[in-house]
Symmetry: D2
Subunit: 178 residues, 4 copies
């Protein structure tokens, strides 16, 4: 890419990109509620009174970020194109079998996690390994569907939303003391 | 690290971390104005009416981020401790001569650049290579001072502030059209 | 992805992945010789007797790495699919106009640069900004071709190959002294 | 850093850097055997006949990499200097309490994991979360010792060594079929 020149025509749709992102996730079987549930499970022990509504709001805010939207569009396009057989070999096979040496799914996920700093990294890895909640469901559908990117992207959004809550919990404590 | 437990005592100072960050940069010879000047030079061609005030505000906002503050504290501590000879070999020599195979300075810088997504990466690399403005000054002082982290950190803050402006310029165009 | 289980059938083609990678690059107008030329230009001042043959060998070695192959396959597939209009909006438009806020091309490039550590980061950013040699050619073809990923990937391979030479130059000096 | 100029005097010690790295880890209570044990536990299900000797060799090879050595030297220096109270506030407190919003330890760890590509990311996060083996021991010593960087670095070395085994297992299968 090149840093943006002014171009009004191209940017008219920016406002709606977030809603398109949410639609793409739903089309692949994942709702914001599903992701918020993951956030609640990993973050509840650190923020005792955390509610599902706060988690949902945090997921919503993560999806405001262009870097996150871009990763979702790119990863889910690759999953879908692979499912339809519209990608050339050898990449097609790697995506279809979620090849163990194909790590671009983690690379995209990392670009999501990094949005709130590196503190989300551990939660991302954990979610991706234990296949909690919706991540397990998505993973179980592999074989008939191609979800090579989807599971990592969902884990990354949850980890970023948890990191955002951690940052805000700390900031609020500081304000209460000030 | 471990995601934060509630601990009021430890967080009282959070509010002031940004100002301490600015002080640390000044102590090593870099003002926000210096960094804003870099932002203006690299971003002016993309955002024609950009002012130094807007650049300064963007740098200021970048410094609100804990990840950025942490990278500044860690990098400048290492520079200073190396200058005072308080670090053990072989690390001391690597830091003092800005060893060509020591890349942890770039690693910390990247954690700053990533805050506004990967679009700042190119500007970071460019600034770091051509040693524009204050980066050149800081670099020239190497030898008598240890600035192994400082030059990369300054380039990274400028690149992140430029990326933030790029994101906002695009968002505003979208709103004007809506 | 999931770390690899043993699966003989799926791995028979691994040996040839490097040659497929080279073919894909050539199909998009980039030869190893073009990339080696970039390496020579950026690295000659640090390693005075460096030859184009050594640069070519270093590029060749970079392409042995699965992470690099994966990034090439993924990025060039996206460029080609966008060129053919086979990608859904809004991603299609972002790829076609090399959108300023689309940073996934840099994200993939970074996964290549990181293979030899972070010391290649500065060279990557510089190459990507000044559009040296083949990168400029590839960039000029934007408009009729979609090269959103190609230019960043070429810059990243050159930066990684330069970092590899830097590591080896240092190692050899150490051996000569031992 | 700046890419390396030829400088014989500075590089004489390069050969021994790996052994210094091993010493530093041991001084902080971690042996290569401890790390190899982690590798065996996470990788055994994917590579059924894996032995502790192979894991040990893989850890040893990871420690050949300068990027890994640099991360170890930098992280363990910061742990030790914080333990001795030789770091200025507010960084000192962050390191001593392993502050939840301090993520530079993960940033350094990531630079280790990336050496064998992104496939190690999930294992890193998992190890760091469940505190397996020596990581749990190191973590339990927090309070009297400062191990803010040590636990992440150990998890990262184990994850990288596991990724290296995954890459090699796949390569060998391919050769057997050729």
């Amino acid at each position: 890419m090149t840093l943006p020149a002014s171009n009004k025509i191209q940017t008219a749709g920016v406002h709606k990109l977030k809603y398109v992102t949410i639609e793409w996730l739903q089309k692949r079987g994942v709702t914001l509620q599903d992701i918020a549930q993951l956030v609640l499970e990993i973050q509840l022990k650190y923020v005792p009174h955390l509610t599902i509504e706060e988690c949902l709001e945090s997921v919503d805010r993560v999806l405001d970020k262009r870097e996150v939207q871009n990763a979702v569009f790119t990863g889910l396009s690759l999953d879908e194109l692979a499912e339809q057989g519209r990608i050339t070999e050898p990449l097609l096979g790697m995506l279809r079998r979620d090849d163990g040496l194909y790590g671009i799914d983690e690379v995209l996920a990392l670009s999501i996690v990094n949005i709130y700093g590196s503190i989300g990294l551990t939660n991302f890895g954990y979610l991706d390994k234990v296949k909690l909640g919706i991540i397990g469901t998505v993973n179980d559908h592999k074989g008939k569907e191609v979800n090579t990117f989807l599971d990592d992207i969902v884990a990354a959004i949850a980890a970023a939303a948890a990191a955002r809550i951690a940052h805000r919990a700390r900031d609020m404590e500081a304000q209460n003391l000030a």
